[in-house]
């Protein structure tokens, strides 16, 4: 068994609200990401999935617990120490529009991480990167606004690859894309993993998307992991009731099958409600 490259141990993230009230958005989450694997975090809005990603990237404060990269603690370290970690952990954000500076050419965007790390030969590498994400060679001199959403996401992926990281945090990278574009970008993610052996922490609200790309899936609900396991098992035969609700709620593109699923879902919810009422607890999620 390979040793984990990224370890999140008993992570707690608390935000202080306007009136001094603190809110625990991540409550005691532990995760491990092995080299070359894809672990997905799936959950609905407010489940804390994005916050975990931002905590790993040093963009959200860690209140308790620790995050280790290759055995070294990277939670709550200084900005200058953080910059050394940058080579190893990169990110692809959800919104391909605001994640690229509109005033920089694609080449400048791709050279920037290399310049920050003090690596030379940046310009030559740009061609390689563009090629690896399937963008035309002459894209370098153009500006982000000249590209479509899917192409912009490819630029963002190229930027993440620039420093040859061992981990890429993918924060809903396909949820702003059309379904055919999404399928192509997901394929690209898989191809790149085969070529470079990079590990993904893939964050999404869509259990179906997650299932198509992951080795393992962790399901988040209100800041805690409620289920974690092999992708196929979690996505297709979930053990936790919340995961089942998620799975049953996703509609499939087949009217007949969807009718059966709908009936099954209503039945499941009714049964759940009945047992909750028996126990005397409110049947609210």
């Amino acid at each position: 068994m390979t040793t984990p490259i990224l370890q999140v141990e008993n992570l707690v993230v608390t935000y202080t609200g306007r009136h001094g009230l603190s809110k625990k958005v991540i409550d005691n989450v532990s995760l491990e990401l092995k080299a070359g694997e894809t672990l997905s975090l799936v959950g609905e809005s407010g489940s804390g999935k994005t916050t975990i990603g931002r905590a790993i990237l040093g963009l959200a404060p860690v209140t308790e617990g620790s995050i280790k990269f290759r055995g070294d603690t990277i939670s709550n370290i200084s900005r200058s120490q953080r910059r050394k970690v940058a080579r190893g952990i990169q990110v692809v954000f959800q919104d391909p529009y605001s994640s690229l500076n509109p005033s920089m050419t694609v080449e400048d965007i791709l050279v920037e991480p290399m310049a920050a790390a003090g690596a030379s030969g940046g310009r030559h590498r740009v061609r390689e990167l563009l090629d690896s994400v399937g963008l035309p060679n002459d894209s370098g001199s153009r500006y982000p606004k000249e590209f479509s959403g899917g192409q912009r996401q490819r630029i963002a992926i190229a930027r993440a690859l620039a420093l040859d990281p061992s981990v890429i945090i993918c924060d809903e990278p396909t949820s702003a894309l059309d379904v055919t574009t999404q399928a192509r970008v997901l394929t690209l993610f898989k191809e790149l993993q085969e070529q470079t052996g990079v590990a993904y922490l893939f964050i999404s609200h869509d259990l179906g998307v997650v299932n198509s790309i992951s080795d393992r899936i962790a399901v988040l609900y209100q800041g805690s992991v409620v289920e974690i396991g092999e992708a196929d098992q979690v996505a297709r035969a979930p053990r936790h009731d919340y995961t089942r609700r998620l799975q049953m709620a996703a509609p499939v593109a087949d009217p007949k099958k969807q009718r059966e699923r709908r009936a099954a879902r209503l039945q499941f919810l009714a049964a759940e409600k009945a047992t909750e009422t028996l126990r005397g607890a409110p049947a609210q999620l």
Binding site: E44, L57, L59, R79, R82, R83, A86, R87, Q90, V91, F93, Q94, D95, S98, S99, L100, N101, S103, E112, P113, A116, A117, G134, L135, P136, K145, E146, F147, S148, G149, G150, Q151, A156, R159, A162, D178, V179, T180, T181, A183, T187, H205, D206, L207, G208, S212, R236, L246, Q247, A249, A250, P251, V252, A253, D254, P255, Q258, R262, R265, L266
Partner: protein, 586 residues
Amino acid sequence: MSAEASLIETEAEVPAAGRSVLRRLLTNAQGMMCIVFLLLVILFGVLSPWLAPFQPNEADLNSVNAQPFSEGHLFGADRAGRDILAQLMWGTNGTLLGSLLVLVIAVLLGVTTGLLSGFYRGRFEAVAGFVTDLIMSLPSIVLLIALFALTGPNVMVAMAVFGVLVAPTYYRLVRSVVLGVRTELYIDAAKVVGLSDQRIIGRHVLWAVRAPVVIQSSFVAASGIAIQAGVEFLGLGDPEQPSWGGILQNANSNIYNNRFGVLWPALLISLTILALILLGNVLRDVLQSSAHNKTLKRSRRRALLTDAQNVRTTSAPSGSNEALLSIRGLKVGYPDGPDRVRTVVHGVDLDVRRGEIHGLVGESGSGKSQMAFSTLGILPKEALILGGSIYLDGEDLLADDKALKNARGQRIGYIPQEPMSNLDPSFTIGAQLVYGLRAVKKISDKGAKEQLIALLTRVGIRNPENVMRLYPHEISGGMAQRVLICGAVAGDPDLIVADEPTTALDVTVQAEVLELLRELSTERGLAMILVTHNLGVVADLCDTVSVMKNGRIVERNDVESLFSNPEQDYTKALLESSRSVELMEA
């Protein structure tokens, strides 16, 4: 696969706007005139040692109070016989330097503090904000006069102090821009790739503030010149040095002996200030407008709309008789230059029967939302309906604005994509619902409330009396969508247009909302146009499906046939992509 990807995705490409700011500035007549005038003023000052007809304080007793255009004195001379033209030339450098000093000091102070304050916030921002407010509350001209008592006649010191006094305008401007930029994802991305704060500020943040700072500078330079002339006019300048304000003061006190003396300095000061302010306005237009102008000429717009209307009134109604809604040959376009129109919907037909849920699927840019907005009459202002008709029960809504207005809300309801941005944050849920209902139906306030409470219960909101008193930010997205659904069906419409009604919702909430829409449609015999990109949602809810691509319907069928037997390659590709990320039960 990459080749195929770029083939399909390049459609969204737009040509680059290659023209530089300077060139756009120079092709603008007003900008050109301002720049030429300001350059002349600078030359006027810089070349004074060579071009000025007299030395700075050279007096000629023979020409005391010489009139303009008299021999040797183009602008005349003052009471000491000094040539006014020469004086103005010698005074120009001081004026320009003073104005430059104001600019440099204000920009250095204001922009740096604004950048740091906006980027780091925290204590620095609190202190800087306090100091800024303090400075802004000081009356600057009074302060500059008081300064005279300390420093004596020294205009440059006064200008430096004035620079500090106007720095807060830059501080406020820059800080507010930075606050907007710092939450952009590209700033986060720059942090993640390991850029230092200086580089993030220097590269990413500074760029965003450069346009507003340039524009502001033009106005600040103008006020620098005005204040400097004012201070000198009050007699606080150096009497040894000729200056615009000083010449004006001299001429003013000598006005009974030489009426035209005041004309020249007053003209020069006013025109320079005017040129700077107009230049600022032009800069604003050039820097902050989109790269190229995409408004249609008014005459062309009118002609296009009249053409469409003529076709509509001369041709006999061609809508289907059985259908509740019948769209025929709908063409929608957007301006793409002063004479050109880009068509985004190319003559589409669509029929919706009573009680039918009609799915309109397609990817972004396929024109599906344009169809929905046309039916509701809520297309963006610049959009043009280039042709076609929309019949509701045989009446053409496009031929008659009044018919459309009457239909909207009463006969056609609308469920939008973003529930939160479609509720007004400053009114309670109850107030908005009652207002909406009373706009389409003659009903008392009390009656409307009772009806809405019943309807809110129906759409699955517990404790509706309570919810009516809440503000939109106090409810969840799913609840907000239920409220909007309640509002859409409250006027008892025959048709609902739902534009991606579940896209912004969590998947479990989506399932509940779809369930609700299905129930409402059956109960009330509602017809529905459901615009969505999600084929799962279509399979769940719709009776009929139209697949749109590039502004045309490429395939239409009942839902079972379309999913089991897609004919077009595009439909097949959509289905395949969609199923590749689909969950199958084990």
